[in-house]
């Protein structure tokens, strides 16, 4: 063995050592990540209730999913979470980060306060918000509305309001993370750029538009992709806040992940659930590829 090792060139030794170290995460990824993913593709072609025999049915699960009008509603809900949630959370986070960066007094404490919701368990937080949305006489938001003479709102019990009512705590909880990343991004811009612009007589708005925002492009792309994936996978808030954990009323708040969960663990239709998982996987894959493409273009 030693003789064999000694015969190798330095670059061969380096390669072998590198592969030995890489083998550990590789084995981990193959057994924990890739194998179940491939298995999901396989199960998506079966009719299987976890208990009985597996029955191969080809692409019937996919055909049934695409023919199901609830699927299209759920897919649209999922897109709405991302389409509205991402820009709203980004704008609010940037606004707070921008002004938080300007102030010195209590900066760390305020930043920590914004970050705390990010650390809180989503389920506990969602329960509290669920109570906030209750009708009078116990709902906090409706009590506040009644103070200013606005009639009480149904929030979680309305097919039009419920999705946004559930999105709000999700946006709120994610703000802390986005703010911290934005502040880091802003602080990474060399001070000299701002000083030069000020000497040239640029105003605050011009500096923001011409210097800060362009310099933050990588930060913005990163946060957009991360929070898009986050909103596309939203689950805890909907599961906790909707009545009977069903993404209601009338499926108006149900996202794809909850639909997968219901098929798999409430109805034990593992094939249908796996097919939906594959569809979600493909959506997330496209989002990630777009990210890579955008990053490459930036360079």
């Amino acid at each position: 063995m030693t003789a064999f090792w000694n015969k190798l060139t330095i670059s061969q030794k380096l390669a072998i050592t590198a592969w030995l170290f890489l083998a550990i995460p590789l084995v981990f990824y193959i057994t924990i990540r890739f194998y179940p993913t491939v298995e999901a593709f396989y199960v998506s072609t079966l009719k299987w209730n976890l208990l009985g025999a597996k029955k191969a049915i080809g692409f019937k699960n996919y055909i049934k999913i695409f023919a199901d009008e609830d699927f299209w509603l759920v897919l649209w809900n999922t897109i709405k979470y991302a389409l509205v949630g991402v820009p709203v959370s980004m704008v609010i986070a940037f606004f707070i980060a921008y002004w938080l960066n300007e102030i010195d007094f209590g900066h760390d404490m305020i930043r920590a306060m914004y970050f705390i919701p990010f650390l809180t368990t989503a389920v506990a937080m969602a329960w509290v918000w669920r109570w906030f949305y209750q009708p009078l006489p116990i709902g906090y938001f409706n009590i506040m509305l009644s103070w200013v003479g606005i009639p009480q709102q149904p929030f979680l019990k309305s097919v039009t309001q419920a999705l946004y009512a559930i999105m709000a705590p999700a946006v709120w909880a994610g703000l802390g993370f986005q703010i911290v990343i934005f502040i880091a991004g802003i602080r990474a811009i060399p001070r000299s750029y701002f000083e030069a612009a000020e000497i040239d007589g640029a105003g605050r708005w011009q500096i923001l538009r011409e210097i800060t925002l362009p310099a933050l492009k990588p930060t913005i792309i990163f946060l957009t992709v991360v929070s898009t994936i986050g909103f596309l996978r939203i689950f805890d808030q909907v599961y906790t806040m909707s009545a009977d954990s069903a993404g209601g009323p009338l499926n108006s708040t149900k996202p794809l992940v909850l639909m997968i969960y219901e098929f798999a663990f409430d109805e034990f239709r593992l094939g249908r659930a796996s097919a939906l998982t594959v569809i979600l996987f493909l959506i997330l894959l496209v989002v990630s590829l777009v990210q890579l493409w955008l990053m490459r273009k930036h360079k």
């Binding site: 009985g52 209750q134 209601g248």
Partner: protein, 417 residues
Amino acid sequence: MKKWLKSALALAIGGTSLLWSGMVQAVEIEYWQYTYASRVEAIDKLIQNFEAANPGITVKHTHFPYADYRKKVAIAVSAGDGPDVVQLYYGWLNDYRDGGLIQPLSKSAFPHATIEKDFFPMVSTMKVDGDYWGLPTAVRSLALFWNEDLFAEAGLSGPPETLDEFVDYAKKLTKKDADGNYLTVGFAVDTDGQDHHWWREVLIRLHGGQPYSDDGKKVTYASDAGAKALKFLTDVEATHKVGANGFMNRGQDAFAAGKAGMVLDGSFRISKFVKQDGLNFAISELPGHNGKRFNFSSYWVNGISSKADGEKKAAAEKFLQYLTSDEAMQLWLDTVGELPAKPAVALVDANKTHPLYGPFIRGLGYANATAFISEKPQRQALIDAYDMVVLQGVDPAEALKKVAKDEQEVFDEFFDQ
């Protein structure tokens, strides 16, 4: 042979045979159920009694959260592991039977004639292909909980006996502020709670229909009776304005807080309401209609898993016999608050006239158990139909047409297996 050697040999032989006999007799079986404090307590007491009466058998009691229960049992038994005696929701029985996870009860240990004589008739749902696959210890039915203080305040002396009275009472019990917001609801309607059972097995039948075909394969509630039943329920919120679905989060919370005149629930809720300070409540049978009464019942059964054989099977049978004995049923009622599955235990005077359990026990006499294929999507059918009518103004008959189609798909997929 020297004397000491003889005695040593004798001791060795005696010791070995003693050990051998001990090994033959000592059987350990496993019992699984889901975690629910009073059920865990009841089973522990029952195991203690059983082990005292059967010195050779020990029972290992395992329980875990409801959310994981069904898949864990399936995976463990499929892998040749897991329980010998297992507690199952009666609605899951078909799946477990098809999956070969449980075995039929032997006719010698559980003679059919005895089962049919001793248990409430609903036990027939457990008989498939000429065999019984499980037996219940306790059953559940529904009753009307009403707040005595609010009733007295509204000038009402007793519970409503008919659906018409029910609506009339709910109106008298409802209180609103100047803007029309509820302060107290007459009836705490809660479709996520027990109201879907009320609609399916009680209201539809009271209006002359039935929820499913006799063979349990077709959805039949998209009928005139179904629509009338749905209209009755949705009118509470939409027309009479005497309650709002999910007011104060859940019906049981509104009632516990003294903010609901009436709520419909199972006997397992008694323990919660009893502990509520300042809540004076009474329980009565569900209101009837046109001189008829119906109720809904459900139960959990105990079955023997396919894994148990030989001595373990014999021990499992003994344990199951004890779990379904009169003594166990009375203990279950006292500890968990669920009703005995045998008329001989349930219908004794002390239970029948019990102020809290009595109405539930009397209700068992005219109760139907739904043969669920998959409870969650089937419950969702009513939740969605209710929301369509109340939130979107859809006609009840139209709403039922839509949800019946969805539910029929669940049936078709199941029976197509």
